[in-house]
Structure formats: structure tokens, C-alpha cells
């Protein structure tokens, strides 16, 4: 079957070798520290307070966008419509603002559109049990199309970035307020994922939906919730981006596609091997942001960064596979 994530064998989950474990659990964090050290050594501007604020601000926006995606993938499904949902939220907000509505109405509408898109995805994947990849490719295409149609194919300028603009560009010391807000959000999410039944259900769903259903937990409702949450968070980022860029950009999504998936899947290679989790996602987002900023300071081209991201993702999968295979009984047949 098609796997989104690496499945460790269920029976041997507890017998993880601690020696191997420590390296594979924290290599991502080590990579982040190493990367910051190397880039800071080559280009000290990397750790300027203004540059740190820029890195944290862009990371915060990405982090909001893919928080929902992290859990969707952790539950063994995939959502490739998230970046287009963000674009739709972004364009809806810009469109309403240009039409003379206030920020409250426009922002609310932007987020609601995301909720509708998520509901639609959830309905098709969780209730109708269709292939999540195909469904979200299609809904993503529809969202991108509507987003472009709202602006007749081009961007929409926003005259006044409004209170959200102030919020995004306010710093406390070198740290943007939005980064603090996202840190709190991720701390809460970590609590929900690790300490509440919610998180257990998510990871259990990836292992066996039938077992979760048999245990009396509605997989349908859980997946529905996850897809709606993913849609809302993506669209919220779209609204924030409208304020941050002072415009609605219909093509804004495409740049987040690889980055978002890379961050989630790379994050899944940390702490809980083969399982996307919020702390891993945070680390991976910071790695990508440092990579972008550092390589820009070094004058690397865009495509070089893209190749590095792809290689990072491959390394991540390899590490996860090694960790999983180390404690998995080999079976002769193909996967």
C-alpha cells in the first residue's frame, strides 16, 4: 500500500535500542545547531537581531500553516491542498478588503473559506473514504483556481494592512510577537499531542484505523476534525500573509508546497521516528528558515537551496528507515 509515513512494526515498538535511539531522535536538532553555527561562522550577519526577527517571523507563518498538516500526516493521511487553501484565504481577504469591507469581516471570511475547504476534504476522505492524495490534489486545484479568479489572474493590493499588520511587525527585543504566539500555540499542541487522548488517537489511526474504530473511537470524526483544523490553520496563515505582504497573491501557495511537506516529514524523523509531531515540525521549519537565510547571505541561488531541501528530505527518510528497520523483523515479500 501507499505509505505517507514510515511505519514501525507494531509488535516491537517498545524494544527500541537506546544507543541507536538517541542519535536518530535528536539528529535533527543537532543539524539545526550545526547549521546555525556554520552559517554564523561564515556570515555573522545571520545572528543579527534584525535577521533573527526575520527568520522567526517567516518561520512563525509557516508553522501556523502546517500545524494542521502535521497531524493529518501523523494520522496516515495526506493533504496537498494546504498551500492552495492558504492562497484562497489570502485572496478572499484581499478581495473583501478591496471591496470596502473591514479587516474583521475580511479576516473572518478568509478563515471560514479555509474551514469550508477543510470540511470538504474531510467529507471526501473521512466519510467517503476516497484516496486522500487524489482528493486533495483536486480540491487544491479548485482552491488555486478560485483564488486566481478572485483577482482575475493577478494580485490584489491592500491599502491598509490593518491591526494584523501591526501585530505581525511588532517585536519584543529581537523576537516578533507572532513568534511568541506561535510558540504558545505549539506548546499547547504539544500538550494535546503528548498528554491528551487526542494525540494517542492520531498516532493510533496511522497504525490501524480498524483497531481505533473497534476501540470505540470514531476515526471518521477524528479525520474530519483534523482536515478542518488543517484547512483553518492554512487559511489563517493566508489572512496573516495578506496583512504581512499588504496584498493578495494568488500564486503564494506554490512556494510553500515543498517547504511545508519537507518540514512536516523531516520533523517526523525526530523524537517519534516516522511519526510527524509538532516539536519535530518546529525544528524542521527552523532548519529550513536558517537554510534560506544563510544561503541567501552566502549568495546561493534559489535552485541550490531546493536541491539541498530535497537531499535533506531524503536523508531524513533514510535515517527514519534505518531506525525502523533496526527493530523490524524482515519479511521477504515486497511492501
Amino acid at each position: 500500500m501507499t505509505d505517507v509515513i514510515v511505519h514501525p512494526s507494531v509488535a516491537r515498538l517498545d524494544t527500541q535500542k537506546p544507543k541507536n535511539g538517541l542519535v536518530s531522535r535528536y539528529w535533527l536538532l543537532a543539524t539545526l545547531v550545526f547549521m546555525v553555527a556554520v552559517f554564523a561562522f561564515l556570515r555573522p550577519q545571520l545572528v543579527d537581531s534584525s535577521n533573527i526577527a526575520t527568520i522567526l517571523r517567516s518561520s512563525a507563518l509557516t508553522a501556523i500553516m502546517i500545524l494542521g498538516l502535521t497531524w493529518v500526516i501523523a494520522a496516515g493521511k495526506i493533504d496537498v491542498s494546504f498551500m492552495h487553501v492558504a492562497a484562497l484565504g489570502n485572496m478572499t481577504t484581499a478581495y473583501l478588503l478591496a471591496g470596502g469591507h473591514g479587516w474583521l469581516v475580511a479576516g473572518f471570511a478568509g478563515v471560514s473559506v479555509g474551514a469550508i475547504a477543510g470540511l470538504f476534504n474531510g467529507l471526501l476522505v473521512a466519510v467517503m473514504r476516497l484516496q486522500p492524495l487524489i482528493v486533495t490534489i483536486a480540491t487544491g486545484g479548485i482552491c488555486a483556481s478560485i483564488a486566481a479568479a478572485l483577482g482575475k489572474g493577478t494580485s490584489i493590493r491592500i491599502a491598509d494592512p490593518g491591526p494584523l499588520g501591526d501585530f505581525i511587525f511588532t517585536n519584543i527585543g529581537p523576537v516578533p510577537v507572532i513568534a511568541i504566539a506561535v510558540a504558545v500555540l505549539y506548546a499547547l499542541s504539544w500538550y494535546a499531542q503528548e498528554k491528551l487522548t487526542f494525540g494517542h488517537y492520531i498516532f493510533a489511526t496511522a497504525q490501524s484505523e480498524a483497531a481505533v474504530d473497534q476501540a470505540g473511537v470514531s476515526v471518521r470524526n477524528l479525520l474530519m476534525l483534523l482536515f478542518v483544523f488543517s484547512g483553518v490553520m492554512s487559511a489563517l496563515t493566508g489572512v496573516l500573509l495578506a496583512a504581512s505582504l499588504s496584498s493578495g497573491q494568488p500564486m503564494i501557495g506554490s512556494s510553500y508546497f515543498i517547504d511545508g511537506l519537507t518540514a512536516v516529514l523531516l520533523g517526523g524523523m525526530m523524537l517519534r521516528i516516522g511519526k510527524p509531531n509538532v516539536l519535530g515540525t518546529t525544528t524542521a521549519i527552523l532548519i529550513l528558515a536558517v537554510l534560506v537565510s544563510g544561503s541567501a547571505l552566502l549568495g546561493w541561488a534559489d535552485y541550490q537551496r531546493q536541491i539541498i531541501k530535497g537531499i535533506l528530505l531524503l536523508i531524513g527518510v533514510t535515517v527514519a528507515m534505518r531506525a525502523v528497520n533496526g527493530r523490524q523483523s524482515q519479511h521477504p515479500e515486497a511492501s
Binding site: 479568479a149 531546493q306 528530505l313
Partner: protein, 334 residues
Amino acid sequence: MTRTFTLPAGSGRFLAFLLLVVLVATAFTLAEPRFLSTQNMSAVTRHMAANGLAALGLTFVVIVRKFDLSFAGTACFAAMTIGYLIALGQPLWIAIPAGIVVGAAIGAFNGVVISYFRFPDIVTTIATGSIAAGLAFVYSNGRTIFQNFMSSGILDLNDARVFGYSLSFVFLLGLYAVAWFFMHRTRYGASFYATGENPVAAYYSGVPTRLYTMLAFVACGVTCVFAVLLILAESGTADTNEGANLLMPAYAGVFLGTALLGRTSVLATLAGTFLITMLLDGFSLLGIPFYYSDGVVSAILLAGVVFFDARLREFLSDIGSFLQPASVKKEKRS
């Protein structure tokens, strides 16, 4: 339970597909008489060629129950490789095979790590696709390559005609015929299906399942190069995002075909691609702006997947059984 109202199945599905084609064609012709002109029809067949070739390789991957998200990036890289070699003055018989080798190599890499090392397919192909799309920029730093294209003869691929049809369309049909024979008339094709449907059973029946999974990815890598080759021939330049638009129509073609004909197969993909291309062409003829086309393809794909879904058909047939005259129902039960 009596099934009175169901969407057709089996060969009936093929008739339903033909009916759908006729309906769509009639609707477009009524809206825009130019739709049936030979000029437009030849445009449809040519557009179909590129999408259909990319979809053919994807069909193999979907049959072994995997996904490949890398072929758009692979196509970009192969296109730039071909363009670079042409610009260097290499003849086509070197440039084109070189591009095919690039596609096959990336496909083989995907296939080996996914089938032999059991890497998760979606993540792996996103990564390799991303790397390939990045590598496409290496040759010219992202600039469009157009040198020597006029004199190289690659444009002839676009203009050449066989029996009044463009060469690309004939090539498409030829390749589909070969693929159809291979997949549906040889035991190797049956092995592909077995690998997808039950790899454990297939393995113990003597099918080298890992080899077949790998070959499917190689096929996908190769056919996307064929597809982008036709795009190169049509545009006359090599651009770094030349293949990026192949992803959506290919998925739509494969899964719409599956939805229409009930099973992923070579013919289903051909049918799906044909319908998608016809709709897209018709909409562009009607002057609908470019940014709707992706949405239209997506909506069609979604509609196909949803309305031809087995559970919905069952649901509809259940509803249908409520709406019969009670006496008829009684008769059938006895």
C-alpha cells in the same frame, strides 16, 4: 437486494463513456461550431499526446499501488538536458536518448529505494522531484535555452504528419497499443496487477514484486520524458518549468479513467486523458480564462472520483430500490 438503478458496470461503462464523450462534444459544438473543425480536432489530438504520455507511465505506478509525485520535476530536468545538448550542437539522436536516460535514471532511483529499501513512496518522490526540478536550473542558471533549436530538427517532431494526423498523436496511439498488449495480454502485465493487488500472494506465486514495482517507476520516468519532448518540439525552447504542468492532467487522466471504466488500466487512462483534453480544449475555445483550467480539471477529477465511487453507486441503488412500485418489488422477491 434488487439493484434497479445503478450506474453501468463492465462493458456498459465503456458505452457510458462514449455517451459522455458524445454529449460533451455536442454541447461544445452547440456553443461554438468551430469545436468540430479539423483544425481544432488536430489541436485536441496534439494536446492529448503530451498529457497522455505522462499519464501512461503514471498508470503503471498506480497499478502497483504507489504514487509518483516526482515526474514533473524529472520532466523539467530532462527537458533542460535535451535543450542543453541541442544548444551544444549535439544531434538529436544523442540529445533525446540522453534525456530518456535521465528520466530512466531518476525513475530507477525512485524505484530502487521505494521497492527494495521500502522507503515511503510519496515522501521519496517529493524529495527526488524537488532535487530534479532544482537540477534543471544547473545548465543555464535558469535561463531559457533556445540556441540551435531551429536547425536541430526537433521542431519537425511537432510538424510531421502521418496519414493526416500529427506524428505525436500517432506515437501516442502506438505506445498505448504496445502498453495495452503488454499489460493486458501478457503474463508480465498480469504480474504488475498482482503486485498491486496482493504483493504477498504475488511474491509467493513467483512474481518478483520488487522488480515490478521498480520497473513501474522507471516507466513513469521514461514516459514523462516522451511527454516533455513533445512540449519541447511544440514550444521550440527549453524552459526550466517546461514539465511542471504535466502533474495535474496526468493524475486527472489516470484517476478519471479509473473512475469511468472501474479499474486502472491502459485503456482507462487513454479514455480519461481524452475526456480531460477535450474539455480543456473546449473551454479554451470558448475563451474561458487560463486560471480556470486547473480548477476545471480538478473539478472533473473530483466529480469522476466521487460519482463513480462504488459506495455512492450502492447508496444510489439503495435509494432507487425505495422508489419502485411496491408490487414490482414483491414480484422480484418471490
